[in-house]
Symmetry: C2
Subunit: 508 residues, 2 copies
């Protein structure tokens, strides 16, 4: 293991996770590595949580503010949430224990565009960062760091934190060395320059994270894998959603608005995203590109098969089988995958320039095309907006996808009025369910409503939505975006009161 | 007048507005110049409206689709709306007659980020453009065009339209020649390059609009001023709002997050914007910059006084007194004002790079910081989102400003849930009313609610909002963003039913 720590001074700082965690004090703002379950610290958070629980048992307060790249894993968000150890968390999470705490109102959670987090930190909007805990693959002789399976905000955390704890994780493939591209051309306005990236495979930075070794207070050796991402075969609903999007691509190619190389793909994570990726393979595409956030097993397969020529991301979230495949074909993949900092992977300048095709999941869309990506029933946080806004606002196309119903048919994915809006009517182009695809480009609100109700709504809810729209079109005060405000959120309220959004007469 | 038309071929195409308008046929998509009441065609739309009314009197359909830069004036939107001559209008308007038609549901209106319009046209999302009607200051010998008081989308309309009608307006100051900067480096993805603008005063284009003279079918000479912008002195409420923002700037300078040169200012139009500009002058700032959409009289004064060193915009919306001032000091202003195409003035790449300070009005904000810029009561269109989203999402700061009440105190500018969302909780940093400023940076939803209710709400509505938030915090299903869905829109519904958002017990 020690050959992963080549800097002589830093090798002397190796200690246990418990010793390192003991340097984290109540009230600190602590920035940690981790993006979509990859590259998060494996040992220090657990040791910290144990010390928090001991403090709490003694009747002492012990909470910290935690900033990350995006979601982490039970070993970070889970244990700290379990210990009641976070007073504030940003910018994205997906841990069940943490989610419950957030929705019980037990901590502050700030949901931020992932492309905004680094710059808002530089601007000073989140206050001072006391300490960073960063997982790396290794430490070079000059003190520079080989980034791990995610880059995320690590460059920013290392620069901004007063002190740094490094976790060197032996399980992360040493072969990742050289895959990263850490851009050091950022600046604060008014000193900013154009970012000279024009293709997804352009390298504009350095393979390593710069480090001031004087800031390091501990080095912890770990040997634990990233959270394993189960890679289930896409279900029928996901395949149908993917099918509609793939048909749409074909018709856009026929219309001359896309070529058969499409444009750089951004893909959220999960079943539907996997189905889209699998569908691209089946549809005969080759030589595509991805400019996205996360590379999962499905993306790796597409690269192997030549469907995708090159993929840029900020996180490499692979299953053990994926890591095995990667390790066996290192030289092949290293030429085709680039991991960047998250302010670059999610940068509006670059997403707009490249013309990304943004494909993201949603919780619900309303009939006018406003999309809720975050709040169940308008009040309970699911995960967060992630990068969906960065890509949807600035991409060539923005698609939002969901099954037409949830909770066994009791909730509609299409509602009269979204209970929370993360993507406004100005930013959504395609709404897709397994029923069909609504192409909203160039449509007014009422035209959108007719299209979404017709193409996307489930038959159980379609008559209810049509009736709402018809009555609103007659009775609404303003008829630009017709609404009946006293029943616009009735789908949601009915679910709260009765356990289903279906009215009594429509229940089966 | 003829010395404004130096191209020999085009001078032969001079005809009356009636003759030119007769070439516009029912069903055509017609793109017109005009941005914030500046640089719109003065004669052809009126002649067209008359021909439409004649056709309608004969029982014939005659409607067209109208695309512009932004709002125009009664001579364009007013007359065409009055004639019932538009089946579709985009992307922004502020004409009372047109607004009424939109809200009566009589035409389709699409409300688009102003920074998206040109590229969505290039992408083919709005279909084919049959004809463009463009006001210019003059036609050069080589056929290139001296742009008028707004550039807007004119470059795009001229490139994309099959045929072009030019209006040469003698009233537009010839001295504007040389002030414009028309960028011809745009391309479709995947061929886009960085836009090499790093300061508000950088020139990256050409002073003239390129033109294929073969596309021109008519040249109409006009001699009419732009709609005059009344420049009222800011009222007390606007001055108080401006005062809060100016105090905030001072505290940011003290905190080291801004310098006394601030960052490039973007300012919406209207009373509050004028008050902010006037306040900057009084507060002793000098050498500031503006990277914005519209230059009004107030901005001209600041340039004259050295408060603003240079201003970039896409529209030059001056009163007769402003034009007089400009004409009298041409050489001074020409070095300090640059008019660009609207895809450049509102480009996310540039707004983020420059770190603009975005200052825009709003209709209402909810207690969680979601902002409604467009829809009165969630259903009736006011004007449109304009460029507020381009700047709010990408700027260094995003401020949204409104009096705390409207309609003589019957409506609250702060509501439990916004009835329409144009700017999400992820994009709003400052909410300002005459009562105070809520700084939402780094706050969770519940922290935001407490701040907005305390700082911004009017005392008549403060207890109602606090009571809503308190009960929601106890009873909401999810406690991340507490809401009681069956009364979240009650302020709006009560106004519809009773003419005031105040409940009976609270009325005075």
């Amino acid at each position: 293991m020690r050959d992963r720590i080549s800097h002589p001074g830093l090798s002397k700082l190796v200690m246990t996770a418990e010793q390192a965690a003991a340097m984290i004090k109540p009230g600190m703002t602590v920035a940690m590595s981790g993006f979509t379950g990859a590259g998060y610290p494996k040992a220090v958070p657990g040791a910290l949580a144990a010390q928090m629980e001991e403090a709490h048992a003694r009747g002492e307060d012990f909470q910290i503010k935690v900033l990350t790249g995006a979601s982490t894993a039970p070993e970070l968000d889970g244990v700290l949430a379990q210990a009641g150890g976070m007073e504030l968390r940003l910018p994205y999470q997906s841990d069940p224990t943490l989610r419950k705490r957030i929705n019980d109102g037990e901590l502050e959670y700030i949901d931020i565009h992932l492309g905004h987090v680094a710059q808002y930190t530089w601007f000073g909007f989140y206050g001072h960062i006391d300490l960073a805990v960063i997982e790396v693959v290794g430490i070079n002789e000059d003190g520079s760091l080989i980034p791990s399976s995610s880059v995320g905000n690590n460059k920013t955390w290392i620069e901004q934190a007063d002190k740094i704890i490094l976790e060197v994780n032996m399980q992360q493939p040493a072969a990742m060395d050289g895959m990263h591209d850490v851009y050091y051309g950022t600046a604060l306005p008014p000193h900013r320059k154009p970012i000279m990236l024009v293709n997804p495979d352009d390298r504009i930075g350095e393979p390593y994270l710069r480090l001031d070794p004087e800031k390091v207070i501990a080095v912890v050796e770990t040997d634990a894998p990233d959270r394993m991402t189960p890679f289930a075969a896409p279900d029928e609903t996901s395949q149908m959603i993917a099918g509609h999007l793939l048909d749409f691509f074909e018709s856009e190619i026929k219309a001359g608005r896309l070529t058969n190389k499409l444009l750089p793909l951004q893909s959220g994570v999960g079943n539907i995203a996997n189905a889209v990726l699998a569908g691209l393979s089946g549809a005969g595409y080759t030589g595509l590109t991805a400019y996205t956030e996360v590379i999962q097993d499905g993306m790796l397969e597409l690269i192997r098969d030549g469907v995708i020529r090159v993929a840029s991301a900020t996180s490499f979230s692979l299953s053990p089988a994926g890591i095995e495949e990667f390790n066996s074909n290192i030289d092949f993949y290293r030429k085709r995958i680039i991991l960047r900092t998250q302010e670059i992977s999610n940068h509006p300048e670059l997403i707009r320039r490249l013309g990304c095709i943004a494909m993201n999941g949603m919780i619900e869309a309303d009939i006018y095309g406003n999309v809720n990506s975050t709040h169940v029933g308008g009040t309970a946080m699911m995960n967060g907006i992630g990068g969906s806004g960065d890509f949807a606002r600035n991409g060539f196309l923005s698609a939002f996808m969901s099954p037409s119903t949830a909770k066994g048919g009791k909730i509609s994915g299409i509602v009269p009025m979204a209970s929370h809006v993360d993507h406004t009517e100005h930013d959504t182009m395609l709404i897709i369910t397994e029923r069909g695809l609504a192409d909203l480009r160039g449509l007014s609100p009422k035209q959108r409503a007719r299209t979404i109700i017709e193409k996307c709504a489930h038959p159980d809810f379609q008559p209810l939505l049509q009736d709402y729209f018809d009555r609103a079109s007659r009775e609404s005060v303003g008829k630009h975006t017709p609404h009946l405000l006293d029943e616009s959120l009735a789908f949601h309220q009915r679910f709260i009161e009765t356990g289903t959004s279906l009215p009594e007469a429509a229940r089966r």
